[in-house]
Symmetry: C2
Subunit: 457 residues, 2 copies
């Protein structure tokens, strides 16, 4: 390639055909999930009512690589390989000697990295005869991705969208319907749990925890229906490693090796997807990048949470997961990065953080939007609220390089565009945005609800 | 390339470095614009208050090719070359032997083909010392594109957005502001013309014609300010030929030659940009595709309008242009494809249509949205309302191929995504959309206002 490139396009023939499983390469395996009743490690059979066996096997596999089926590749090829960009115009604006690269996942039909796992999840369910998938969605990115994926395999898709979001973001709902999904405001009249909540409060705002409960209840009650989760679990992170595998090849194409990776972390799938292939290279001694999680200061599970067993949902129905948690009863303040408003963290990301293999930092949303505006005006792309955290962290580092004179190579993931999040930008531009950083008091209150299982288990 | 490709990626090194001017290759030159006062052909000096001299020279050039400046290429590289897709999943759903290709311009920062001309327009103005550009916008695609382009050259940008759209589409306004533009609801208090209209009716809905008048008035009154137009004119179509030049190379990469081109036509810039390089090849005898314009049945300037001199705007301030027109006083019904709601047609597209080098058809919006839904569910991308016309025409042809057994190669342009047009899809999905095809009575009334200049001139 010439030296003045902006975009590094990976040839279609280089689309990765295997996902990478980091677990066998780690110095210790991650602690297993526990059955919430018995507190024994949860096995495949415990998950069978909700997930197809192929995905359960991926959840627990000890193989380092898993083949991507041809029927999945055929759909991923609609937008993959995704581009890697060198942010030259941002570098110039920052007057930094650093080189900033970003892997852009907004080119997917749903506009984020989520279809990378929605497609294989729909595929494996379809292969096992499942005809309908249910899920929850908050901001709408995951629901959109699953709706798109189900359309590819002629499967029905039902989405429980948090009521507040359903009312405030009608266009996300329409997008899901364009792809053929049925969208319910949650709590809904469809489930017993939902009906009870609506009876008590017809104007209920809902929550992600409630929407999960409804989607899970419907899936568990019908043999032709399964449930799909968009982050947190091992198989989701596995599917997302296609991001990092592509980025590795693209950096090699231009002869660069990263000194720093920064990725935003909510449930952890975007971060794991970008960083785990690079962490493999680091563990093998082939490169030595610093790898840094960036989380919102309003929901800082890694930097302020505790590493202990907790429930994945507010309703205490999921297996217990060992993870960095703010407490399953914690409801984050309504920052705009809805995809990062989760009380816990993927057990796998929590584990590598606990092992000291990655570090973490938290940033307030106004700094993130300031960075996003500078990014949009130089690089053109309007970022979704979630990756503004990664951009802000990259800008911090690039400015530090300006001070130190270091020409570091920084890699980040722009995991989605903000075309359906312009209300957040309006909020920022009009000067109304405030930071909603987590207070010590709120943190202590939420953590008090976490079951003390270290003794019990 | 392997034979199972979905996307044909043109290497960055193959980004075209020249725009193509079709005029020297035509059997006859297009009729010139006329000064509205003298009715003499309008010269460069007549346009100097509004446009920089470099663009005026491009408007009248007799050269076949114009070099793209390096400072323009550096910005176009943020998203160009744009991908060409083979719509294999749509072909399968239609069960057609036809091959459908689409050139996708939604990858640009503003989400449409408009930045292809917004960037060079901002560049040349910047080069000539202009510090501010004004323009009008209806649906918002053009205003967004110019806002993005001005941000790249640190220029101020002021956009007059039609009041009805300003109120109904707040997110388009926010998108322009993210890129640093100042957005006025039109009619506005900024201009004398606007103030007069608001005094008479404070709730005025505005129109594109009024917004043009305001943007032009502000540009003409300040020596550091110029005006930018997003379609219709020769230099705009010239800049858009980069679409067709790339598509030519991409089809050659996979060994295909088109039998049919279909492109949606509003002002004509997307259609001209896609088709003129192919028309060059056809005129030179190197290929022989049918080239077809597709317009909305609600605003069918080519298929139902008359080919005569008319004003480009409702306010009768522009030069007189020889074009297919429904009459400058015609206000199209409020179909969702706002970018196709223009009473006239680019003089250059009108001319090649009059010469019989291209053909035209009109399609109603409900057929367009039905095709768009099928497209979204197979190909993944949600199209903007404008290119749904091109998609519907491609589907028609593919189904005809199914009947005839012909394996035609069909090329179309998906000139933008519909992420900010989901209200239109909601309208369709809820069953409320009606066709608003132009009636003979409305047409006759609008044409009666066109000045009878054939005798005078």
């Amino acid at each position: 390639m010439t030296d003045d490139y902006y975009r590094v396009a990976l040839p279609d023939s280089e689309l990765p055909t295997q996902w990478y499983n980091i677990i066998p390469d780690l110095p210790a395996p991650p602690p297993p999930p526990l059955h919430p009743g018995t507190l024994a490690p949860a096995g495949p059979d415990d998950l069978a009512p909700l997930f197809p066996m192929a995905l359960i096997m991926q959840e627990v596999t000890g193989d380092s690589y898993v083949d991507v089926p041809g029927g999945v590749l055929d759909v991923l090829r609609l937008w993959r390989p995704s581009p890697l960009f060198r942010a030259r115009r941002l570098e110039q604006a920052l007057d930094t000697p650093a080189k900033i690269f970003y892997k852009y996942e907004g080119v997917s039909p749903a506009g984020s990295h989520k279809p990378n796992t929605a497609v294989p999840q729909a595929f494996y369910n379809h292969q096992e005869g499942v005809t309908r998938l249910t899920t929850e969605t908050g901001a709408g990115q995951w629901g959109s991705a699953l709706a798109f994926a189900c359309a590819q395999y002629d499967m029905a898709c039902e989405v429980w969208q948090v009521a507040a979001s359903y009312r405030q973001k009608p266009y996300r709902k329409t997008m899901m319907e364009v792809w053929g999904a049925e969208v319910h405001s949650s709590p809904s009249e469809v489930t017993e749990y939902g009906r009870g909540l609506l009876a008590a409060n017809p104007d209920h705002n809902g929550s992600l925890g409630i929407a999960i409960s409804e989607a899970v209840a419907v899936a568990a009650s019908d043999p032709g229906t399964r449930y799909a989760l968009g982050s947190v679990l091992n198989h989701v992170l596995l599917h997302q490693t296609i991001i990092g595998e592509e980025a590795l090849k693209q950096l090699a194409m231009v002869g660069e090796t990263p000194d720093l990776l920064v990725g935003c972390t909510g449930g952890g799938s975007n971060f794991g997807g970008l960083s785990f292939p690079f962490l493999r290279e680091k563990l093998a001694g082939r490169m030595n990048p610093v790898i840094r999680c960036v989380e919102p200061a309003a929901c800082p599970s890694l930097t302020k949470g505790e590493y202990r067993y907790d429930f994945g949902d507010t309703g205490q129905m999921t297996p217990l997961l060992k993870m960095h948690t703010l407490g399953h009863s914690f409801i984050p303040d309504p920052i705009h990065a809805g995809g990062l408003r989760y009380h816990g963290m993927s057990p796998l990301v929590s584990h590598v953080y606990d092992l000291g293999l990655v570090e973490a930092t938290a940033i307030s949303q106004s700094e993130c939007f300031a960075a996003a505006l500078q990014f949009a005006r130089t690089e053109g792309i309007v970022p979704a609220p979630e990756p503004t955290h990664a951009i802000a962290a990259a800008v911090r580092e690039a400015l530090a390089c300006k001070e130190s004179g270091e020409g570091k190579v920084i890699l980040t993931a722009l995991c989605g565009h903000g075309h359906l999040d312009l209300a957040a930008y309006e909020h920022y531009l009009s000067g109304k945005m405030v930071d909603l950083d987590l207070s010590d008091e709120a943190l202590a209150a939420a953590l008090a609800d976490v079951p003390d299982l270290e003794r019990t288990a």
